[in-house]
């Protein structure tokens, strides 16, 4: 019986790991869905446009504009139907590199054999000539995908954009120029002659998702596919997911996430953390997993840093907060902070030792290193360190919250922090 249980465990373990692997792959964008969610009309529009380029040899240019995480890059699903030359503004940081990349992608470098490419000018002339040689009826259409289109607009003279768009507006090789960007004002970046050559087609990817649809997506993302090897497990899993989505706390978490942003990337990172907590011991997704994942994701980045400070450093932060309150956010220097701190020690403190000034200075410098305080002007060393003007990089609420959660915080320090003026 023991052995039987062990085998069962192993089996269960295998299934569980398999399910986890599948979901992780899905959430980590290893596998893109076949079609974007909630963007059907835009998707169709683009598809139609590309189809016309492919079938009729009609040159087109189009911009796909949408906020980050709205599914712009998913157009690359269709790249393989074309002679595609994807370039990214963040990788190809100038026209020279972009040209080289395009030439490579179009397999034009074969013509030259294994010789290295010549100058930028030659490269440009070469590519233009290649594109000029083609014609509408006989050449295979070329798809240029310019990721982070707005960055190309910052290249010198916008040479690449001009030339690509010029090809798209003249009887040469049929091309489709596809710009992906999240900037709504991208057209204003284009020089007027470049702009004139652009067809002014823009496809906006704004998700008008409602929360109900959002929940559906969550459910779909977490569900196991029907062809999962162990139907019993997958049934069980799917059932638990459905139940999970109906849970009030879970719904609250998802709504907060939804309120924050509608894109799926933040959702995926949340779900990924939750799915990672699934183990053999509890082979279904529970609400606690999601809550924990949410806690991890939503925590304020600076709060964590504050928890690691010493009492002295915390006191200095509180002193700075008071200075901020008193002088309405005006910058301060170390001497002022030290005075404030001394006042506290003399008047109110019972538990805090008296620290020597150098020690306080050391603590202050640590805060400086953590960038919780930052010099106003970029630290020119004309002024003595004590008198250099500083700013606190913390919000009032952050200090208070950190204080609440700080382990074994002396009461008089808490009192001091809560009191109105020093």
């Amino acid at each position: 019986q023991d052995r039987c249980g062990c085998v069962l465990m192993m089996l269960c373990d295998g299934v569980c790991v398999q399910a986890q692997k599948l979901l992780r792959e899905r959430l980590c964008h290893q596998k893109l869905p076949d079609q974007p969610v909630g963007l059907d009309s835009q998707y169709k529009h683009l598809l139609e446009l590309l189809r016309r380029t492919a079938v009729h040899g009609e040159s087109n240019s189009v911009l796909i504009v949408g906020p980050r995480g709205s599914g712009k890059t998913m157009v690359r699903i269709h790249e393989h139907h074309f002679n595609a030359a994807p370039v990214a503004g963040l990788l190809q940081t100038d026209d020279k590199i972009a040209l080289k990349e395009i030439t490579r992608q179009l397999h034009l470098e074969n013509v030259v054999g294994d010789k290295v490419f010549g100058s930028f000018a030659e490269n440009l002339a070469f590519l233009l000539e290649a594109l000029k040689k083609g014609d509408k009826s006989s050449s295979r259409p070329v798809l240029f995908v310019l990721d982070e289109f707005d960055l190309f607009a910052h290249h010198k003279n916008q040479t690449l954009l001009y030339n690509l768009l010029d090809v798209s507006q003249s009887a040469q090789t049929p091309v489709a120029v596809l710009g992906l960007t999240c900037r709504l004002d991208v057209l204003e970046l284009l020089e007027k002659r470049v702009k004139s050559r652009f067809s002014h087609r823009q496809i906006h990817l704004f998700s008008s998702l409602s929360f109900a649809q959002y929940l559906d997506v969550v459910r779909a993302q977490l569900s196991l596919p029907p062809d999962f090897p162990d139907p019993k497990f997958s049934d069980e899993w799917n059932h638990s997911v459905t139940k999970l989505c109906e849970d009030k706390t879970v719904e609250e978490i998802l709504r907060r996430n939804f309120n924050g942003s509608k894109d799926f990337r933040s959702l995926h990172s949340l779900l990924f953390l939750a799915v990672s907590r699934v183990s053999v011991s509890h082979s279904t997704l529970r609400e606690a997993d999601l809550i924990e994942a949410w806690r991890l994701i939503s925590v304020d980045s600076k709060a964590n840093v504050l928890h690691g400070l010493s009492i002295l450093e915390l006191c200095l932060i509180i002193a700075m907060k008071h200075l901020n309150d008193t002088y309405d956010g005006e910058p301060f220097n170390f001497q002022m902070v030290h005075n404030e701190f001394k006042k506290f020690i003399q008047r109110k403190s019972h538990s805090i030792h008296k620290f020597e000034k150098p020690v306080v200075m050391k603590a202050f410098e640590h805060l400086l290193q953590l960038e919780l305080v930052r010099p106003v002007d970029s630290g020119v060393c004309k002024v003595q360190r004590e008198y250099q003007l500083m700013r606190l990089m913390l919000e009032h609420g952050q200090v208070m919250e950190a204080l609440q959660k700080y382990p074994q915080c002396p009461t008089d320090v808490k009192q001091w922090a809560l009191s109105a003026f020093g």
Binding site: K96, H107, K133, S139, N157, R183, Q202, H204, S261, S298
Partner: protein, 850 residues
Amino acid sequence: MSRYITRLRMRRTYKWNGRPVGEDRKLKRQYYESMSISVEGKTEDATVSLGQYILIEGDDDDNPFVAQLLKLYTDDSGKKKTAVLQWFVRMCEVPQNKRKLLGRDPHPQEIFFYQDRSCDNEVDGETILGAVQIEYVPVQDPFPVGKSRDILFVKLLWDTKSFRALDPELMQPPQSPKSPPPSSRGPQTRALPTPDPSVMKRAMSGILTRGSMSTGKMSSSEAESLHSASKLSAAKALSAKRRSQAVSGPQVRKKLDLCSPSKNMSRDDVLGELLDERSEKTLTSKLNTSPTGRISISIRLTPLNLNKEECVSPLSSHSPDKPRMTAHDKDDAARAEEEHEDSPINTAATSRSKRKSAQLVSSRIKKQLNLLGNKIDLQSDGEDGDDDDCFIPSKIDLQSSSDEEEEAKIDSEDELIVKKHRGSGTSRSTEKTRVSARTPRKTPSKKTAPATPRTPRHATPSIPSRTAPARKPGNVLEEARARLHVSSVPESLPCREQEFQDIYNFVESKVIDGTGGCMYISGVPGTGKTATVHEVIRSLQQSAEQDEIPHFRFIEINGMKMTDPHQAYVQILQKLTDQKATPDHAAALLEKRFSAPAPKKETVVLLVDELDLLWTRKQNVMYNLFDWPTRRNARLVVLTIANTMDLPERIMINRVASRLGLTRMSFQPYTFKQLQQIITSRLNRVKAFEEDALQLVSRKVAALSGDARRCLDICRRATEICEHSGSQKNSSGLVGMSHVMEALDEMFSSSYISAIRCASVQEQLFLRAVIAEFRRLGLEEATFQQVFVQHQALCRVEGLQPANVSEGLTVCQRLGSCRLLLLEGSRLDLFLRIRLNVSQDDVLYALKAD
């Protein structure tokens, strides 16, 4: 071809040899027979004399012009030495688009007899570089191999339109200065005001010769007249077919008549002799089986008939002091002959001889081919063609024969080379020194050559072809869309007639006059500037094809299509001469090309698009572009295009703007009527749009920019929308108002409002907080910290859990990346300043509508 050196490197002095041989008092000219050129630092002088082939310095150091020296004279002062020449062209001088007419790869040492009436054939004598060897190769013969690289070969004739077989008689062997007089007597006939009986006589005979082409050997070969009679009938039968080719004959002759009496005189020596020489020279050992017999046959034919004609025509009345007139009349006479059945015999005769030799050659080839056992069919085909109506053999024939013949020729030609080397000893040695003098300059370019693979020139980059053919437009809407695409070339350019005419007139006048000039064309994008210029060039090229205006070269550069303003030189040079060079070197070469006198030069029309991109700090690119046309010999017309009307005043320094001149034209943005007309003419009776819809589009675009591209794009988009909705509503199938409205909306409406509407709750709240903070501060700018406080307050009001700083920053950055907000760098953290990129009203409107 070895390199020749320019006068820049080496100082040369020119001196007449001997006394003047003739004088023209009217023109105050003194004619000479030869000239010696001494090069600084060389003891030996090179001598060029009449009839010799010489090199004339041109724009290209490596390929100087080639010509035959016909006359040498000096003007009254004795300072200016002038040479009258018969030009030859190299392949690189033939316009690029015509080169393919040759139908084969040119031999590197090949040149062409140049026949162009418009070409100036007088040059400054001091541009002569030295003598060169030229060898005539009959059309059917292969190019000799193994010869010195300094010998040039001439095979065909180039008349600016086509390559034709060259009459061997036009190619006279250079006469050695020692050889007896005829060559020197030419000038006398022209120069002496009082007719000298001997000269008269000679002139007459010259006339006769020219008229009949080949009278000379008459006496010696009367016995063969029988043969000629039979030949004559054969020739008659062919004459109809050859008429077209035969016409060219007299032209060639006329050309020579005009420029070289000396040559005419030398033709006294008669075709027969020439041919003998010719055949001896080129066919040498192989063909000497029975050349004289063959040739005399061909010569026989003409005189019998032509003499009669000459007697009838009042040629005797020609006075020798009107050489041009006579020449002209002679020409007329020659033409008149042409009308007669007999005259084509002239050309037929010569061609016959060629064909004879060709047959001989080809029979030899045949033998070889039989051994090899291939290409026999082609060969015999070529021969059949020969017999029928073409004396220019097919390309295959040419190639195959040259392939096969090469070996056979080597032996015979080695001898010749030895001779030639001796002959041109002086010039060669000078060349050598020049080459060495030149090397330092050459090295840099040589260095760059291997480093930069010659991709653009030699590799033929191409986009792979598609597997299935592009589908043709299926329905009316697709048809309309194809027509409305900006790339489709319209039949005409409506609404730019005036501009077209102005530019046309400008370019045409410059091309006809052979002068240069600049024109500046401005206009906002999409007003048809480049299209109009292209249209002008297209129609000018058409009329050049029809010979209404001289030929010209059209070159286009675009400031946007180059990486650096100085690349303009490289591109111009490459398009002009197919050379590659570094920008500096290219600039030097172009400078030389446009400033050196070169009579054969075609006018170059240069279109510089996006001129403003050629701006450099010193503005030397622009300066050069506008300065070249002002040179006397440049023959360069520069058309420049840019967007702004006041570009010359704004960015050009005075000396550049002054050279650009005041020939300016500005393209006004299209009015709505014009736009409507453009669309209508493009659609060309394809009924796809409602009239109102068109009007709406054109009015809208005209009000905004007047950009025709925009207009066409909107119409195209409207057809798409129509196609989509058409399936549902099934209305008229035409593009209506609603579709156009939708397209206009898509293109012109700002997307900010829809972006705000689709933003998440927190993002919307943040925008609201920004506005609240702005109102509180009374400023249009706030720090993140300030806005965040507002944001938290708003969250509480809305009953949401307030976001923490990290979340707040994320939301803020997200809005910033869409450019709804303008942000500073995010490392400022709490203190980054925020501004709105949309008006507050828009934000409130978008948020309220929820």
